[in-house]
């Protein structure tokens, strides 16, 4: 069970208070009618499934009811940061891979038996 820092409440709270809402930073096209079917389909249905750093939207459903973003490592499940809606992440897959160059990978994968 995750331990999540709500950037609006300013506190760590148990995962039970939150709902995950999928990939973060999916912006609705400003002019939907100008989108091709394929573009609209991509907006509606296609999501990243990265191995590593992932930006997700969560909502503090039984807390302040605010939506916010979480940068989470999909292998270690470590939450690297949380930030408010409209803000940009300070940790990304790129910044992580640069930081890690030359250093051993401390988080190892596990196979769920």
């Amino acid at each position: 069970m995750f331990y999540i820092y709500c950037p609006y409440c300013g506190e760590h709270r148990e995962e039970e208070e939150f709902h995950p809402k999928g990939q973060a930073h999916i912006e609705r096209p400003k002019e939907p009618e100008a989108c091709s079917d394929e573009e609209w389909g991509n907006y509606l249905f296609f999501r990243d499934n990265p191995r590593g750093v992932h930006h997700e939207m969560w909502v503090h459903a039984v807390g302040c009811r605010k939506f916010f973003n979480v940068t989470r490592h999909t292998v270690s499940y470590e939450i690297l940061e949380t930030y408010k809606m409209g803000e940009q992440p300070s940790i990304t897959a790129d910044s992580q891979s640069q930081a890690r160059e030359g250093a051993a990978v401390s988080q190892q994968e596990g196979v769920r038996a």
Partner: protein
């Protein structure tokens, strides 16, 4: 009967048991005696009970092997009464108490004389891995029959058939440092962390804390190690910042240092919790711990050697032999042969000898072992046979001899003559396997270390391992590692640590161990006698070899094919040996073969502890409307809608019934329907979701979120709205009313209320934060009473000051005023097609208003109706219910509700773009239609599939299904709503509904509006 006669294997001195008190217990109906401090296992051994179970697959007799959580055989059913039954208890972990009643989980009809044993022995060679998959595959329909007998023969324990009388609690805990395992490493770590002032929790699964130190020959500060344990526990118990949890197993290690601890508070006292001062004690607690730092000091399990006949009772782990002698004062036999690959095993022989029993020989796989331990054994005059191993245990119900021979480990063969040593006990040690289970719950991969011949845990952030789990076994090193872990953990949480002085430990010179897992036999593995790897699941070395020959190379596949590491055992004893055997067969190294990752829970947890207080009335919260008590008194039957309890229908006493017989549901619903159509009915609609929307941009927001138009909705007006997701599929509907220019009241479906509020917030917070609008749930604040039917106006006029004239208070208007003397909002909207007023009052006034309505309503025939009647009435009018007519794949156009779509609204509202996608524009989509059965007596089944040609060969092409279907009292006919491919073009066509019983119903596609097609009745 004297004690000595009863407990023939009990030693006269030694152990941590209280010989001054005797406890009696039963096992498989036999009466035995033991002492406080015993486990069920130690008491059984003291009484010379060799066979405790029958094995899972071959039904071989099995005895006690281990002394702790790793015990694979002594799995018992506990409980002296039906309600107290607990399956799958390890006898090695169950403290003895007066009156304990246990029985074997396996063995039919009993463990001593077992019918399956015969089949198992005869059929043994015919039951290779995958036997069940291969044998009982066909015909599939017979599986249920097979399974019943397989389960009975296998015996997997059983759950109680009566309610559990006990209580269980959940605790949410926070601490700086959680120490798991209170052996030498854990206690040292806890001491260091505690002295820093950090909040420390210490969980240990055993009856007493201290781990291996409780049964150790080793000394600390020249005293036996258990005295140091007592001193440390004393200090920790006196610290306010320390919580000691004995009898508490850390069963699961979840994300972000969340660890679940299962604390058994009364299971050492009796099989149901004792009652004190009239209160039943809490039997178990589940601590949900969020720890800043976790210290894993879970120790190591000794690994048995794999040799032929190693499952015959009398084969034990060397360390377990020591534990039974030193901790429980039980020598589990008379004549011991020890087979070992390392120095640690020697302790069993020394303890055995000291207990006054005969050590026939130590058989050491090493060519020239040399260490303090070897010297100590030689000094005791114990015979040591080197370069050799026990290759086979003889005996059926108990070991009678060990066959010993020189072995060549590299060539994997017996390299010398075999001698047979008479004995009743064979202890074996293949070294230690660190208990990495918890660490692997986190997903971190363990690492193989050649120097310790074992896996050590991979570690995620915020966790440290120390002592045996880290592959560190020398006592002095273990303590030093513990202290270091404690200091580091406390420091990570911002607590400075004072120095901790370590007790001086003996430094014994150790010799290197040899890597021995499976012992070679004279015959090849596949043809020789069985060598067991996983005793609980009856997996043999031959089974694993066969699996590799059949092409299984991944250890995960071998595991599933052979069942190694399954069950309550989870591979505690067998997994490393199994991997080593697979590695040998595949000519790879153990780390190349991999490791299976252990899953929660480490040992079984009772459902009681998992459930805690979330059972019975507290299993799921129930929501009641303000009028609930009235419905109960009126004898309503209730329907669950989400968590709400809604009146379903109100059965009355049948007219003329002598014995108070009540109406059937059909009778009640028919009466309620006709009352609404002909007089007036009343519905408690309070559960409808209500969202108060305010702000200058509220109107703009509604226009974006709903499919239809809102810019011209005047104050005092209501409008039905349809909501889609951006994929164009209908997700909710309801009426929204304009209370003031910047103020709206949205209603949602009962089940959708919370989700729709979140949906509105999602769009506002993420896409349109510039809109100045606010949302509040007011579902519980307002009670809603719907009066509907031709007499509704007359009734309301009697108790309201609102002008109800049909021309001033029109259909789809709302007015505020007083009803029954209290402030109310009255909405003239209709879900029945009749003249309707929905009266909203503050919830705490609801009962007064409801009762006033009934006081005045009797003369009009006011009839309460429930959700079933509501459904019939709305369906007669073709009104949809989201989630019934829709399933997330239905657009407004599929519903024929284009009238509710604002195609030319300026903003591209949610769902609009998707309505012009190729798939949503496709002809032949499933579209909502009405169905009228050709036989009016037929009420079609909801969910029934629709076909166009009933003579078509099976499988018939299915063109749709029934979404709603009822009997209509006003039409005196069955009728239905359905979705049918291209249905809007098929009005008048005949379709067919083949049923499971072979009948085929015929129905005509008609309009969805069955009653009052022009909608005149609601406008009167």
């Amino acid at each position: 009967m004297s004690q000595s006669k009863q407990q023939v294997f009990r030693l006269n001195t030694g152990g941590r048991i209280d010989r001054s008190r005797t406890l009696s217990f039963t096992f498989n109906g036999q009466r035995y005696q033991g002492h406080p401090g015993d486990t069920l296992a130690s008491a059984l051994l003291a009484n010379g009970v060799d066979i405790v179970n029958r094995s899972f697959k071959y039904s071989r007799p099995r005895g006690i092997v281990a002394a702790g959580a790793e015990e694979p055989n002594a799995i018992v059913q506990l409980g002296s009464s039906e309600a107290a039954q607990v399956p799958n208890v390890r006898a090695t972990q169950q403290a003895l108490y007066e009156g304990l009643a246990a029985s074997s989980t396996n063995g039919w009809p009993n463990v001593q004389r077992d019918l399956m044993g015969l089949f198992g022995k005869l059929g043994g060679q015919f039951m290779p891995p995958g036997f069940y998959y291969k044998t009982f595959m066909a015909p599939a329909s017979m599986w249920l029959t097979y399974e019943k007998y397989i389960r009975k023969a296998a015996g997997l324990g059983r759950s109680p058939m009566e309610a559990d009388p006990d209580n269980y609690n959940h605790f949410n805990q926070h601490c700086d440092v959680l120490v798991v395992g209170a052996g030498a490493a854990g206690l040292a770590a806890a001491l260091a962390a505690a002295r820093s002032g950090a909040r420390v929790m210490v969980a240990d699964e055993q009856e007493e804390m201290g781990g291996s130190l409780l049964a150790s020959r080793e000394t600390l500060e020249d005293k036996l190690a258990d005295q140091w344990v007592a001193r440390v526990l004393d200090e920790l118990a006196g610290c306010e910042n320390v919580t000691l949890l004995p009898r508490t197993t850390a069963n699961g290690y979840h994300d972000h240092n969340f660890v679940t601890l299962h604390e058994r508070r009364t299971e050492h006292l009796s099989d149901t919790a004792p009652v004190e001062n009239g209160h039943r004690q809490v039997r178990a607690r589940l601590h949900r711990v969020r720890a800043g730092q976790v210290i894993l000091s879970t120790g190591a399990h000794e690994r048995p050697l794999v040799y032929a006949g190693n499952d015959v009772p009398g084969n034990m782990l060397a360390g377990a032999v020591s534990t039974y002698i030193r901790r429980y004062g039980v020598a589990p036999g008379r004549k011991l042969v020890l087979s070992t690959s390392n120095d640690y095993g020697y302790r069993a022989a020394l303890d055995w000898k000291e207990a006054g029993c005969e050590v026939v020989a130590i058989v050491d796989a090493r060519e020239a072992p040399a260490s303090d331990w070897v010297d100590a054994a030689r000094a005791q005059g114990i015979k040591i046979i080197t370069g050799s191993a026990v290759i086979e245990a003889k005996g059926s119900n108990r070991v009678t001899a060990a066959r010993v021979a020189k072995i060549d480990i590299v060539a994997f063969k017996v390299s010398g003559p075999v001698q047979e040593l008479a004995c009743d006990t064979i202890a074996s040690s293949g070294g230690y396997s660190p208990v990495i289970h918890l660490a692997s719950h986190t997903g971190a991969r363990p690492t193989w270390r050649d120097d310790i011949i074992g896996f050590v845990p991979g570690l995620v952030k915020g966790v440290q391992a120390c002592g045996g789990v880290n592959g560190t076994y020398a006592l002095g090193d273990v303590l030093a590692e513990g202290v270091e872990a404690g200091i580091k953990a406390a420091a990570a949480m911002g607590h400075a640590v004072q120095t901790v002085t370590l007790p001086s430990a003996e430094r014994l010179q150790q010799g290197p161990a040899v890597a021995l897992f499976q012992v070679p036999h004279e015959k090849p593995t596949l043809r020789g006698p069985k060598q067991f790897v996983d005793l609980q699941n009856d997996v043999t070395a031959a089974g694993i070899e066969l699996a590799t020959r059949e092409g299984f190379e991944s250890i995960e596949h071998i595991k599933r094919y052979t069942a190694m590491g399954f069950g309550t055992d989870q591979g505690k004893l067998g997994n490393i040996n199994g991997m080593a055997i697979a590695a040998r067969c595949l000519k790879r190294s153990i780390p190349e073969v991999g490791t299976t990752v252990f899953r929660p829970n480490y040992t079984p947890v009772t459902f009681g502890a998992i459930v805690g207080r979330h059972c019975r009335d507290l299993f799921d919260p129930e929501r009641y409307t303000a009028l609930h008590q009235w419905h109960v008194e009126r004898g309503a039957e209730f329907e669950d809608v989400g968590q709400w309890k809604r009146p379903w229908y109100y059965p009355q006493k049948r007219a003329g019934a002598v014995n108070g017989e009540r109406e059937s549901m059909a009778e009640a619903v028919a009466r309620e329907c006709l009352a609404v159509r002909e007089k007036v009915g009343i519905l408690d609609a309070s559960t409808l979701g209500k969202i108060d929307i305010q702000g200058p941009d509220a109107r703009e927001f509604l226009a974006r979120i709903y499919t239809n138009k809102w810019e011209k909705l005047a104050v005092g007006k209501c409008r039905y709205g349809l909501m889609c997701k951006d994929d164009g599929m209908v997700t909710d509907d309801g009426v929204t009313s304009c209370l003031a220019d910047n103020h709206f009241l949205m209603t949602t479906t009962t089940g959708g209320a919370a989700a729709i509020l979140e949906w509105l917030e999602l769009w506002h917070q993420t896409e349109w934060p510039e809109l100045d609008v606010y949302f509040s749930s007011v579902t519980d604040h307002w009670a809603t009473m719907t009066i509907t039917g031709p007499e509704a106006r007359k009734l309301l006029a009697e108790i309201s000051d609102i002008d109800l004239d049909r021309d001033s208070f029109k259909f789809m208007d709302w007015r505020s005023g007083k009803v029954a003397g209290v402030p109310a909002r009255v909405f003239r909207i209709s879900f029945t097609g009749e003249l309707t007023f929905e009266i909203n009052v503050q919830a705490n006034y609801a009962m007064h208003v409801w009762q006033t309505l009934f006081k005045h309503g009797e003369k009009y025939g006011l009839t309460p109706y429930g959700t079933e009647t509501m459904h019939v009435l709305r369906a007669e009018k073709g009104f949809i219910i989201v989630g019934q007519e829709t399933d997330g794949s239905v657009t407004p156009e599929d519903l024929g509700m284009q009238w509710c779509v604002g195609y030319d609204k300026p903003y591209s509202w949610i769902g609009k773009r998707a309505l012009t996608r190729s798939d949503t524009k496709r002809e032949n989509r499933k579209q909502l239609v009405g169905l009228r059965p050709k036989d009016p007596k037929v009420v079609l089944e909801e969910g029934a599939q629709i076909v166009l040609d009933p003579k078509h060969a099976i499988p018939m092409p299915m063109v749709g299904h029934v979404t709603s279907s009822y009997y209509s009292p006003i039409l005196d006919s069955g009728f239905a709503l359905a979705v049918v491919k291209g249905g809007h073009q098929k009005l008048g066509d005949t379709v067919y509904l083949p049923m499971a019983d072979g009948q085929t119903h015929e129905a005509e596609i008609v309009s969805t509006i069955f009653y009052d097609p022009k909608g005149e009745r609601q406008h009167v």
